[in-house]
């Protein structure tokens, strides 16, 4: 077993273990903290895949913004369906069964694909993924329109979120 395989197995264990904790622990604040551990594991996987920018963006956007937003929402709705009472609905057994069947089906489908065991190709020294990504996101014959549409979507969603969460009784 090489060092890369060992690092991958440790990262995968951290990611999957904390993901299972996210969906099973009763205290929602703890679930949010386990979610941060999962997101951090995914960020480390991005580093292992030579996607340094995405790893940094994962830490800044997911851990820095989305997780904090979720923790705020948990604290604003505190005391409802939290604490010692059960956190799963009556159909959790069917949900677990469906998740296991879905996982088995996905792995079976993927194992039929001939490219399943592809090895990692070498990236040349001259190739800089960060420069390529930056140019692709602003180049007219690459992804500038999806990028701008995504920014408009984000702005619209944030304005919409403010309006939806506005407390009209305060006036």
């Amino acid at each position: 077993m090489t060092a890369q395989q060992l690092i991958f197995i440790i990262l995968a264990a951290i990611t999957l273990g904390s993901a299972v904790m996210v969906v099973t622990v009763r205290n929602l604040v703890h679930a949010a903290l386990w979610l941060i551990a999962t997101l951090f594991g995914v960020a480390c996987l991005f580093v292992a895949l030579n996607a340094g920018f995405l790893a940094v963006a994962q830490v800044v956007i997911y851990i820095g913004a989305i997780s904090i937003l979720i923790i705020f929402a948990i604290m604003l709705t505190r005391g409802v369906g939290q604490g010692t009472s059960t956190q799963t609905n009556a159909n959790w057994g069917w949900g677990a069964l469906l998740a296991v069947v879905f996982f088995g089906g996905l792995v079976w489908l993927l194992s039929l694909w001939p490219g399943f065991t592809t090895q990692k190709p070498e990236i040349g020294r001259a190739f800089d993924p960060l420069r390529q990504l930056g140019q692709a996101l602003v180049s007219p014959n690459a992804y500038v329109i999806p990028f701008e549409v995504a920014s408009v979507l984000l702005l619209a969603a944030l304005i919409g979120a403010i309006i939806v969460a506005w407390d009209r009784r305060l006036k």
Binding site: A32, L45, A165
Partner: protein
Amino acid sequence: MVPLSWYLILAAALFSVGLYGVLARKNAIAILMGIELMLNAVNVNLVAFWRYRTPEVIAGQAFAVIVFAVAAAEVAVGLALIISIYRRRNTVVADDIDLLKF
């Protein structure tokens, strides 16, 4: 060396855990956390396919950036809806939010 299959199996497992969270959790915020897990599994897949299949074409990473933006928008609107419902109905349990069945 780590083959592509390891990343794909990890992403499938992460997605299934998120799916279980969405299906089994009572609390609407916990359901949103399950959706976050599923979006992350998709991102792992996108980046792994980019690195192993077409590292000279940057499309995989560009798609992952778009997924980040959409995830941020989704969680902002979702949490705003949950807080608004909590103010009116005083609950965040998904089973109790059934006004359309009223």
